[in-house]
């Protein structure tokens, strides 16, 4: 029978590493998706997944068993992603997606006039445009938006995760949505 998260956490706390392994194998793919959406880079996302589980392992004794282990893990992953993004910025590392810094705003690269929406959807071009716009958001806008839109985290929790007031988190989401609308509306508004 499959171990539930809470049972696996209890066993891992008692020193059973195979129980922690169950948690790692269960949550890795979702964490990778979150980390990729936040960092925008595969290698960084891999590192975030690794670091998240390390931190979780070290702090397992502090985990409140009444809470959801997945949610707790996501908060750690969000913080790890932020650390990663900040470290990358500070190092001035030129990552693949950031290598064209100084190039025109990704939103400006949205073609005009737009090709037919059905063709765009089929070719995945819309998806690529979305990724380009997300890449162009500020760290705070991107993080707040990813946590709200993809992870369904409420604004209060996003504020706590980012260490800002809920109002600041809310306005970051608004700005992100505004930029997405500006870039994507021409593409989707002519959809049937």
């Amino acid at each position: 029978m499959e171990l539930s998260d809470s049972v696996a956490v209890a066993q891992a706390r008692a020193g059973d590493s195979s129980a922690f392994r169950v948690l790692v194998e269960r949550h890795s793919r979702n964490l990778f998706r979150l980390a990729y959406r936040m960092t925008g880079h595969q290698q960084d996302a891999e590192d975030v997944v690794q670091e998240t589980f390390l931190r979780a392992y070290r702090q397992l004794s502090k985990f409140d068993e009444r809470a959801s282990f997945g949610t707790w893990l996501y908060r750690i992953a969000a913080n790890c992603s932020l650390d990663m993004i900040r470290a990358r910025k500070r190092r001035g590392a030129q990552t693949e997606a950031a290598s064209d810094e100084g190039a025109p705003d990704p939103m400006q690269s949205v073609p005009d006039p737009a090709p037919a929406p059905d063709r765009l959807a089929m070719s995945g071009e819309v998806g690529r445009k979305v990724a380009a716009v997300l890449e162009g958001l500020s760290e705070m806008e991107r993080t707040a938006f990813v946590l709200r839109h993809y992870e369904g985290m409420c604004i209060d929790d996003i504020g706590r995760t980012l260490g800002v007031q809920p109002n600041a988190a809310k306005h970051s989401i608004f700005r992100a949505v505004q930029k997405l609308r500006r870039a994507l509306e021409p593409l989707v508004s002519s959809a049937p």
């Binding site: 194998e25 990778f32 500070r90 608004f174 949505v177």
Partner: protein, 255 residues
């Protein structure tokens, strides 16, 4: 009622805020707002199509195989080992001084003076890098406990207090040594870290939700965790380089 704002649309879309019934009622009666909201919905729905590289079903097992050795290696952080640590730190600094002296005293006299000094510096650097790397990693663990605490709840920090108390003593030694060695980057991060460790060490065993939040904001607002993490990683890198034969030969860089 005036037309709805974009912010109201966004909050409504995500089910946030307390204005949902009023927004719903307005949308039922206002065609232009309904069209505007439909446009927002289309954009946000399409956002879900952003590509994410998929990981296959074995990904979890791959993560585990990379993770497992690290879990074993970090067992030294068990609390039972902590009380003796600041004695170990003092011993390390003493060892450093002795090692530097011995390297200078017994290195073959035929060697040029510059090489003799270099050998002493290599020994000194390697010992100190190991100690400072460990110190920053332990400090990071304490800070993370606070940063990742469940919001809105009080927090038992008795063990963190004890660890912070030990770390403060170590921190002073390393900060002074780093400053003396001319490594301003490490000295600076240790300087930033010390007041936070002190605050934790001198605080109560159980923090109120407000105290947790204040500490969290201080740690994150001042970027202390980030600095500790980045400098810790740089120190580890230098430690590896110093341990390699090439690093031994060159012996460049301070702490």
């Amino acid at each position: 009622m005036n037309h709805l704002t974009e912010e109201q649309f966004v909050l409504y879309y995500y089910g946030e805020g307390d204005g949902s019934p009023a927004v719903r009622a307005h949308l039922d009666t206002c065609e232009s707002c309904r069209a505007e909201y439909a446009s927002l919905q289309r954009v946000l729905n399409v956002v879900d199509s952003a590509p994410v590289p998929e990981r296959d079903a074995n990904y979890g097992a791959e993560v585990w195989s990379r993770l497992q050795p690290s879990l074993g290696r970090r067992r030294w952080t068990l609390p039972i080992l902590w009380p003796a640590r600041h004695w170990a730190a003092a011993a390390l600094v003493a060892t450093l001084v002795v090692a530097a002296f011995l390297a200078g005293r017994y290195y073959p006299k035929a060697q040029p003076a510059a090489q003799t000094a270099n050998a002493g510096q290599v020994v000194r650097e390697r010992i100190l890098l190991v100690a400072v790397g460990d110190h920053l990693e332990r400090s990071q663990t304490v800070l993370l406990e606070l940063v990742n605490a469940r919001p809105g709840q009080s927090l038992d920090v008795a063990s963190e207090r004890e660890r912070a108390g030990d770390l403060v003593a170590d921190n002073r030694l390393y900060r002074q040594t780093a400053a003396h060695a001319g490594d301003t980057r490490v000295a600076s991060v240790l300087d930033d870290l010390e007041p936070v460790l002190l605050e934790i060490a001198r605080g109560p065993d159980r923090l109120t939700p407000e105290e947790v939040e204040n500490l969290r904001q201080r740690i994150e607002g001042d970027g202390i965790l980030f600095k500790v993490r980045v400098v810790g990683s740089a120190v580890r890198h230098r430690e590896e380089r110093a341990a390699s034969p090439a690093g031994e030969r060159t012996g460049q860089s301070t702490l």
